[in-house]
């Protein structure tokens, strides 16, 4: 059996270990006096910038109606087949509305394609990253969980208008 040759043999000082340990401790000491970057989640929560892609949500207009016209494009473009839309007729001018709109959060990969394809700016990526479920069924979000008032989504919408062509 041949012993494997080391890439580089340690020098005497290195073999002592003490200088290296001191070096590490100095770094620790220095860092103690720098401002903190960690957060004590979940007591303290991270507020992401507008460019963040949290879970997709549906925009709810001020009058309580969703913007979505159930065109099904988000559902078609979704690479993970997470979205199911069932359209129905409404007396409103938009003619169509989603009778059922479900996103399976176990399928969603947060790619944002749905937001990008939507012709009505009706589905946008929110800042919500807290997604915990205990069974498959509760991971499927219906309109009740998806609808978010437009005021709460304004900065994302502004961000999109600025950058989306």
């Amino acid at each position: 059996m041949t012993t494997k040759k080391r890439f580089k043999d340690l020098t005497f000082w290195e073999r002592l270990y003490i200088p290296v340990i001191i070096k590490g401790l100095v770094l620790t000491l220095k860092t103690m006096f720098k401002p903190k970057v960690t957060m004590e989640y979940p007591e303290v929560k991270f507020e992401p910038p507008a460019s963040y892609r949290g879970r997709p949500v549906l925009v709810q207009e001020k009058n309580g109606v969703e913007r979505c016209v159930a065109c099904g494009l988000c559902s078609r473009v979704c690479p993970a087949l997470a979205i199911e839309v069932q359209a129905a007729e409404t007396e409103l001018e938009k003619e169509r509305f989603p009778q059922k709109f479900e996103i399976n959060m176990l399928r969603c990969i947060f790619c944002g394609f749905c937001e990008e394809v939507c012709p009505e700016e009706a589905i946008v990526m929110s800042k919500d990253y807290e997604l915990v479920f205990q069974d498959r069924d509760s991971a499927i979000f219906g309109k009740d969980k998806l609808l978010v008032p437009v005021e709460n989504l304004q900065d994302r919408i502004d961000f999109l208008r600025k950058f989306k062509k």
Partner: protein, 552 residues
């Protein structure tokens, strides 16, 4: 044959053909909205403009007769410029409705806008507004903004449906479609206009907003509404039929089908009244059972009768395969009593498609040699010569109260049925049958054309992948945990299969695994169907000549 040169390719044409037809025959596609092979030429959309050498201006290819030596350019700069200009013009007042328009995904305007236009509009003014939800007739809704005034719908109503019900009104950009005063667009063929409308201006009330077209799978099949057997496609999402559309077959139905066939021949497949399991009558009540028990009880109770006390009801709604195996089974137990009921509504027929025989396979029954009309059975039951009846896919009690009384006289009534009806209420045993959309099989239409049906909807014993059924994208990637894959599947079997299972308690000689094998057996044993098999029949069917079956 005279020849014409299109895009440098020499093609032959039949005298009298227009340039667009000659091009189509040669596999060259020229964009067109108003041209339709079965309608007169109106030449008003102008998108089919092509450059023809020695002609001073561009000409519309749909209305220009091809002549020998003509040289046509469909992709020259001049042609493309003109085409783009026409597209831009048509799109000036077209609303950007695609997200809410049912036609999206199968819209000619959408396709051409993608393939042949500049991709942007120079029109900054405000678009015309017109009425958006006009009910033209009981089944068709009209969106005036989307209409591109191609007049296909008008020409269809005049020339094919032979009922002059639609017309243009107003001029210029105010032009719109309307019915004549006091008229409703209600001829028996109105929904074909929804198919031929190149845009989404006409929508089908029944299908409106039910599904996007790319979410469904489509399966070639045959309409069961009457003995014409129009070729159709069955559109399915989440194992539910959402619409039927006609499929081109010049010999049978051309591009068309009737509204009744389109709307009223598929809803029973997913309806509440489907028989969801086997049922046995115990102490006067019908109770759920399973196949093993139900077949055992059926066999045992049948064996209690002498063979000529048992009669069978064949069905012109069932396939050749079903009826053939019924015949075979009857023979095994030595019964000659096979009857069937006609469903003819006299006078309900026209010169276009609709036939007065409202079943898809009555000629098929005759060719199999099932000829006895049920009127003869009445006597047999009354005289107690027939005591047990096995009814396949036929609502006998629904034929009238006399039949209800007759059935209650029987000692044993076994019913193979797809849906609940008056007969199943009187049954002692119910065995759930697969519908025409859940099995393979063949029908013979009134012309003698053998046509195939294919499964479009899964039953518990069918599997989209393993059984080679057509699939949508959802079907391809779905799992059992996805809600859009949890559509109802019934525990039903094709009638022929039920008979083969039943036979295992009798002769155990009728052994078939697939409908195709049954058909091969029919073809072997019956000269009328000689040389036919599923591949030969294919998508468009095979005609049996009258001379061949006349004497049968």
């Amino acid at each position: 044959m005279p020849t014409i040169t299109i895009d440098g390719k020499q093609v032959e044409f039949k005298p009298g053909q227009t340039v667009i037809q000659a091009a189509m025959d040669a596999g060259i596609d020229i964009p067109h909205f108003c041209y339709h092979p079965k309608l007169s030429i109106s030449g008003n959309c102008r998108v089919c403009l092509v450059e023809i050498e020695k002609m001073p201006k561009l000409a519309i290819s749909c209305a220009t007769l091809a002549s020998d030596g003509m040289v046509v350019h469909t992709k020259s700069d001049k042609t493309l410029d003109a085409r783009n200009a026409v597209m831009e013009f048509i799109l000036i007042n077209h609303p950007l409705d695609c997200p809410i328009c049912d036609e999206a995904g199968e819209c000619k305007l959408q396709e051409y806008a993608f393939a042949h236009s500049r991709g942007e509009s120079r029109f900054d003014e405000i678009k015309n507004r017109k009425e958006k939800r006009v009910q033209l007739g009981p089944r068709v809704k009209f969106d005036a903004e989307r209409c591109i005034s191609c007049s296909r719908c008008i020409r269809f109503s005049d020339e094919i449906a032979k009922s002059n019900q639609l017309t243009f009104k107003n001029r210029g950009d105010k032009v719109t479609i309307t019915t004549f005063p006091g008229e409703s667009f209600d001829n028996p063929y109105t929904l074909n206009t929804v198919d031929i409308c190149p845009v989404g201006a006409l929508t089908n009330n029944d299908f409106r907003f039910k599904s996007r077209v790319w979410e469904m799978s489509s399966t070639n099949s045959v309409c069961i509404g009457c003995s014409r057997g129009c070729n159709i496609e069955i559109w399915v999402r989440n194992n539910e039929i959402l619409r039927l559309t006609p499929r081109y077959n010049e010999e049978v139905n051309s591009f068309w089908m009737c509204d009744n066939g389109r709307l009223n021949t598929f809803k029973f497949v997913n309806s509440e009244t489907r028989i969801d399991s086997c049922y046995l009558r115990k102490e006067g009540e019908l109770v759920k059972s399973n196949w093993v028990e139900a077949l055992e009880v059926t066999a045992k109770s049948l064996k209690e009768f002498k063979s000529n006390e048992v009669a069978f009801i064949a069905s012109p709604y069932s396939t050749l395969e079903d009826n053939f195996i019924l015949q075979k089974f009857a023979k095994q137990i030595n019964s000659n009593n096979i009857f069937y009921a006609n469903h003819i509504i006299e006078g309900d027929q026209d010169e276009i498609l609709i036939r007065e025989d409202k079943t898809p396979n009555s000629l098929g029954l005759k060719l199999l040699g099932i000829k006895n009309d049920i009127s003869k059975l009445i006597d047999l039951i009354q005289k107690k010569n027939v005591k047990a009846l096995l009814i396949m896919e036929e609502d006998l009690a629904g034929l009238g109260s006399e039949w209800e009384n007759l059935l209650s006289k029987l000692e044993l009534t076994i019913v193979i049925a797809t849906n609940q009806n008056k007969t199943t209420l009187l049954a002692d045993i119910i065995l759930p049958a697969a519908t025409y959309a859940e099995k393979h099989g063949t029908f013979v239409n009134f012309q003698g054309r053998v046509q195939r049906i294919r499964p479009a909807v899964e039953t518990e014993e069918l599997d989209r992948s393993l059984d080679g059924m057509s699939k949508s994208r959802w079907d391809k990637f779905g799992t059992k945990f996805d809600r859009w894959m949890q559509g109802k599947k019934y525990d039903a079997k094709p009638s022929w299969k039920i008979f083969t299972l039943l036979d295992s308690y009798f002769s155990n000689k009728i052994k078939f695994k697939m409908a195709e094998e049954v058909f091969d057996e029919i073809s072997k044993s019956n000269d009328v169907f000689k040389d036919l098999d599923y591949d030969v029949i294919g998508d468009l069917g095979s005609l049996i000549k009258k001379e061949v079956y006349q004497n049968v």
